[in-house]
């Protein structure tokens, strides 16, 4: 967005307005691949990154010699760790992007899937899908995804509707408060369903804490098309989001079709959050913390903020997943515990800082 010449760029700079250079982009991409390789290599069976690289290259392109590597290890890399890492990256990117988008749209730096209660809504959808055995022919597992997306959207609309009713200007506090109340309500409904349905739904417990354990290529395939569509559309709306982040009424006056754009954004956010919940459960705070940190580097302009949030969100969640399965190895920590622990601390910090200066 800052297209004017470098000559008149003020390098002394103000807090929060910084120039993300090519180097930052390079670093982010590099970081992504480093984390990817680490998370594939590390685990109960450790691999040398070079060995990991060889296996992946061989499986993809058929080049290189891997005859000295046991078949078993190739399976671990290609069918267990790689899809898991990719899924973690995708969910991290989706949650981070949806958080950044919600913050801009609602002009609210604390908005996010978990603070607004969308993830809880999505979880309710997923649990209902399991309890009612919802299935759509030909695509196994899509029932949960669809239900989760629909319920995410419904919760989002409901929360916003109620918040508007209470406080026309949608202040930060109102939305967050609504989100908390809504989350508590939905969580108790979730617990009720689990309690009533007996043993069969005990797997649901794990949903509430989030995990990538046992996730494979089928989950990647389920989420990938949704992820790509929603991400492309949202990235294309960065200009509109800039306008929204300065105020909806003003956005309308400069020519944004606010109602239509808003609806589109809400649907795409629901797709991202819903699909994430369906494949990995409730993973909190990613969408809150990552865009906030990213904004420090890129400034608040969405043209840069959104792609960087996608990249850093992906790296962050892969790293968190790596932690969750290695820190108390051979047992696994639910990833939601890791992200919430990190996230809640940063959340407090943000809240503290907010009282002194803006974002």
């Amino acid at each position: 967005m800052r297209n004017h010449n470098l000559e008149n760029y003020n390098f002394s700079g103000d807090a929060g307005v910084k120039s993300p250079s090519f180097l930052v982009l390079l670093f982010s991409v590099l970081l992504f691949f480093v984390v990817l390789f680490f998370s594939i290599s590390a685990g109960s069976i450790g691999f040398h990154p070079v060995q990991t690289f060889k296996i992946i290259v061989n499986s993809l392109f058929g080049t290189g010699d891997i005859s000295n590597i046991p078949e078993n290890n190739i399976t671990i890399i290609m069918n267990i760790r790689l899809p898991r890492a990719i899924l973690a990256a995708m969910v991290g990117a989706a949650l981070s992007l949806s958080g950044a988008v919600m913050q801009g749209l609602l002009k609210n730096p604390l908005a996010d899937g978990s603070t607004l209660g969308i993830t809880s809504g999505g979880t309710l959808g997923a649990i209902l899908a399991i309890a009612l055995n919802t299935n759509i022919p030909f695509i196994p597992g899509i029932g949960i995804v669809v239900m989760s997306i629909i319920f995410s959207f419904l919760s989002l609309v409901l929360i916003l509707f109620l918040s508007y009713k209470i406080d026309y200007h949608l202040s930060t506090q109102t939305i967050i408060l609504m989100g908390i109340i809504f989350t508590m309500l939905i969580n108790s409904i979730n617990s009720l369903i689990v309690a009533l349905s007996g043993e069969g739904l005990k797997q649901v417990i794990f949903w509430t804490m989030g995990s990538f354990s046992g996730r494979g290529w089928s989950h990647v395939c389920l989420m990938l098309p949704l992820f790509i569509i929603a991400t492309v559309i949202l990235l294309a709306l960065s200009r509109e989001l800039d306008a929204f982040s300065l105020g909806e009424e003003q956005a309308r006056y400069i020519g944004v079709s606010t109602k239509r754009v808003k609806l589109l954004i809400l649907i795409m956010v629901s797709v991202l959050v819903g699909a994430s919940v369906a494949v990995s459960g409730t993973i909190g705070f990613v969408g809150l913390v990552i865009p906030h940190i990213t904004r420090f580097i890129t400034g608040p302009g969405h043209k840069k903020l959104l792609p960087f949030s996608v990249l850093s969100g992906a790296s962050f969640l892969m790293a968190a997943d790596l932690l969750s399965r290695t820190i108390i190895s051979p047992a696994e920590l639910p990833i939601g515990v890791v992200t919430s622990l990190i996230g809640a601390l940063i959340f407090i910090y943000i809240f503290y800082k907010k009282s002194r200066k803006g974002f």
Binding site: M1, R2, N3, H4, N8, Y9, N10, G13, D14, A15, G16, V17, G104, K107, N108, P109, H169, A236, S238, R239, D242, A243, S245, L246, G247, E249, Q250, R252, Y253, I254, G255, V256, S257, T258, R295, G299, P300, G301, K303, K357, G358, F359
Partner: protein
Amino acid sequence: MLKVKGLSVTIDNKKIVDHVSFELKEHDIFMVAGPNGAGKTTLFKGIMGVVPHEGGVLFDNIDINKYKRKELARKIGVLTQRRQLQFAHTVYDVVSLGRYSHQKALLGRLDNRDREKIEQSLKLTGLSDIQNRSILTLSGGELQRVFLAQVFAQDPQILILDEPTTHLDLQYQIAIFDIIKEWVKKDNRAVLAVVHDLNTAYVYGNKAILMFDGKAYAKGPINEVLTQDNLQAVYNVDVAEWMKGILYNWK
């Protein structure tokens, strides 16, 4: 250029704006004055279609609801008063958003014409030197100029201002209206401003509508509208005498 025909706004069964009509012509600085609760801001919202309303608002004899959002934004620019900012956008980025309705490229790439318009607006509002500052670090006066520059970059034919100088120092009030007075001199331009301050209205306006209880109490050339009798009736204060008294104090 802009015709308002029998505009009424009803909120909770109460008529806030009651059948108001007027016409905005080229080079006009048309002031909307009146006491608190007279319906000034609601009239403005009715014109912009933000609140449900009856009656018509025509731009070049076409109902403004017939225009597409972007099209309308190229005709009419709006400066509002209430604003809470959360993010540290730069002055340049905020002003460049004014070009939104002119841009066709994906992701809002600014072309040379866009950049030229932005530079012009920054210069006109005296913001060139602080164009890379975060808007969160600005004073109220600077911030108001930033959004004025955004509307100028939008390059509309009609500027609608909702109390553009309410919370500003006298210095900035004068500065902003001086800029607006310059702006409106070009062809096919007009300004409609809701103002609280009668002095500003008198000094800068050429026409006015005096609102009272949702109705147009008087309208026309400014010196025929803001008369001693009219103001006495609407404000229930002898405004002219009071102003003269103040003037006496300054001598």
